[in-house]
Symmetry: C2
Subunit: 176 residues, 2 copies
């Protein structure tokens, strides 16, 4: 399985894909149980060269994402979110959230959709739901470049890893 991190391709081989794998399994469960319809979007690429029969891409690169990775419908609401993992023990850095993605999160909320991040601290093996509103507030009001781990522990819902559904994140989404 090949995925992309910071515009680089990473081959995860057989060792699973951590958070992304957990989310994909959960989305299959949601669909099967008719709870929600959530899809991972394809990764945007810029094609530079194609073959003569126009069936094969011979040169291309990954473009910066301007939206979030997953979107779908839950309780008739538009849902969009991204999955982020960090190896930091102290905080979740904003470094790998692009400016366009921040704008997009604001837009989704403005139009009545639900936007959030699922953040995993790999060191602690703990996963949290970070609502778009909290993220935007942190970025714009506090001017910090990260959210401390302690803030997650004290204020944000933890999403536990279980057997089925693997990572019941929708259970932590506030539909109000």
């Amino acid at each position: 399985m090949i995925t992309v991190k910071n515009n680089k391709l990473i081959n995860y081989g057989n060792r699973g894909m951590g958070l992304e794998s957990d989310i994909n399994l959960t989305n299959e469960y949601y669909k099967e149980k008719k709870i929600a319809l959530i899809y991972k979007k394809p990764i945007p690429i810029k094609v530079l060269k194609i073959n003569s029969t126009k069936t094969r891409i011979q040169d291309a690169f990954y473009e910066q994402k301007s939206t979030l990775d997953y979107s779908g419908i839950y309780k008739e609401k538009y849902i969009e979110f991204d999955a982020k993992e960090t190896n930091s023990k102290t905080s979740f850095p904003f470094a790998n959230i692009h400016k366009h993605q921040i704008e997009h999160i604001k837009n989704v909320m403005y139009f009545g959709g639900i936007a959030f991040l699922i953040v995993r601290f790999n060191y602690f093996n703990k996963t949290f739901l970070l609502p778009g509103k909290v993220l935007i507030n942190y970025i714009e009001v506090s001017k910090r470049k990260s959210i401390p781990y302690s803030y997650f522990i004290d204020n944000l819902p933890e999403i536990e890893i279980k057997y089925r559904p693997r990572l019941d994140y929708l259970n932590k989404v506030d539909i109000s």
Copy 2:
């Protein structure tokens, strides 16, 4: 501008992209005027070969789409649709709608989203909104392999081409 039709890449150069171009212009207008947030999804690809620095795709092909090309939010509802052009003078053929896409349209409707196609008959330069429900009914009940042009004329809303917004399709979507 390079796009994909029937898994082949087509370079439209400077001559515009017809229906797709009209929809993209309209979506920009919708976003600017705070009417709706609609995005074109990236095209799914299968990567076969990457370079050593993992920044460049060297061999890949287009995968069959299992969802529709555009998605977003309108009046707090989940919207998803595809744009289809036909050169036929008599009917809109189902040949280029994949089985997975039909399943997906049904799922979107089941979960309370709005799914439809925007169909353009190039010969007549006429564009119509084809609701998911009508499409599914035609495919499953009538067992036909196409919808006659006369059915569009008699029963479905025509979307006129104007200056701004270019193709006001949301105006024809029934949110009820």
